[in-house]
């Protein structure tokens, strides 16, 4: 993260200066900082709502039931989490919400999943293999129906916007599966390295 942060800022200033856009780059600092707070604050209400709903789902045993249902899959994918970890239920809810395009609901579930994975993480500053896998799956953005895209296409008078649903689903599945394969491969390599060091 240190290098990425350094690169984004220093590289942007140098490139901006070369392009004669230094003023725009400087302005972007202000507008970017303002936007971050706006994004965070716009999350408060919806985050509170879904965290509240999740608490009910947890107390009624619903989350535990979903976790049990998905255990055959999660046991293989998240093999470094304890089998009865509450993170499994949160991960399931996160993907359900994402699949249906409820990005606002997916974020609180995902954050709870991260918190539960953090509880069993050895080094609290460093991402665990399970976290990297979970985020890899998340950044691939698996979604059944791309609602925002469909709305834009309808807006410009696209005759049959639903024809892009199937190809989008195919593409997102390819990205999703490759993210899982790559994360598992990286996990295997890093575990091997660790074993050699010991």
């Amino acid at each position: 993260m240190n290098y990425i942060f350094y690169f984004l800022i220093v590289f942007s200033i140098i490139i901006g200066a070369i392009n004669g856009k230094l003023q725009d780059v400087v302005n972007a600092v202000m507008s970017g900082a303002e936007l971050s707070v706006k994004v965070a604050f716009s999350l408060i209400g919806i985050m509170a709502f879904w965290l509240g709903i999740m608490r009910i789902a947890e107390k009624s045993g619903l989350i535990e039931w979903i976790s049990k249902l998905l255990r055959p899959i999660t046991k293989v994918l998240f093999n470094e989490l304890p089998p009865d970890s509450p993170a499994v239920g949160d991960i399931a809810m996160n993907f359900t919400a994402n699949a249906f395009g409820l990005a606002n609901a997916a974020t609180p579930f995902g954050i709870r999943a991260m918190e539960n994975m953090q509880d069993v993480n050895k080094d609290k500053k460093t991402a665990s293999n399970s976290m990297c896998l979970f985020l890899g799956m998340n950044t691939a953005g698996f979604q059944l129906i791309p609602t925002t895209v469909l709305a834009v296409l309808l807006g410009i008078g696209y005759k049959n916007p639903t024809e892009i649903i199937a190809p989008t689903l195919l593409v997102t599945s390819i990205a999703f599966i490759s993210a899982i394969v790559m994360a598992k491969f990286a996990q295997w390599i890093s575990n091997k390295k660790e074993a050699e060091n010991e």
Partner: protein
């Protein structure tokens, strides 16, 4: 089939609410008390991710303002013609992993200027719909638990984005070209 998909996406959220609340009531959970108790954390989490969001969003905003994306686009344009990729979709490929609102803006531009029947519009729609804003996802989720050493998470996110772009080009070529 399409109607069914639309129906599912419309009912997904209401169905979750009905199921969760009914389950709660049946199991004699004090739903109102538990809801408000759980919701308390909403503010805490949102405030906790602010520093991480500021770091990433400021960095990405500066990067976009610097004109670096146009430079990459110029540099890569000979490659595009080789793979039958319309050049107006290139900025979208670069911005997609960096900024969600930026990507949506570029997609709207493409859709409005190229029109409903254009190949660019279809390719851009598939690219936007099939991926997520990698940088944002990492900043929010790692930020919420205070993790700063992210190991291979970013590389996998970006590689998956790249595979998604390649797959979108391939599928779009087969279906619409």
């Amino acid at each position: 089939m399409n109607n069914l998909l639309n129906l599912i996406s419309l009912w997904a959220l209401p169905a979750i609410l009905i199921i969760v609340l009914t389950c709660g009531l049946v199991k004699k959970v004090p739903v109102y008390e538990e809801f408000t108790d759980g919701a308390k954390d909403g503010f805490k989490v949102a405030v906790k991710i602010i520093p991480y969001l500021v770091a990433i969003i400021v960095g990405v905003s500066m990067f976009r303002a610097s004109g670096a994306i146009d430079m990459i686009a110029n540099f890569a344009s000979p490659l595009l013609t080789k793979f039958n990729i319309p050049s107006d979709t290139l900025p979208l490929m670069i911005v997609r992993s960096l900024s969600g609102s930026g990507a949506l803006g570029i997609f709207s531009d493409i859709a409005n200027s190229a029109g409903p029947d254009a190949y660019s519009t279809k390719l851009a729609a598939i690219m936007l719909g099939s991926s997520e804003t990698t940088f944002y996802v990492l900043a929010v989720y790692f930020g919420a638990v205070g993790i700063t050493k992210i190991r291979y998470a970013l590389i996998i996110g970006l590689l998956a984005d790249f595979i998604g772009i390649a797959a979108a080009v391939l599928v779009c070529n087969l279906m619409f070209a």
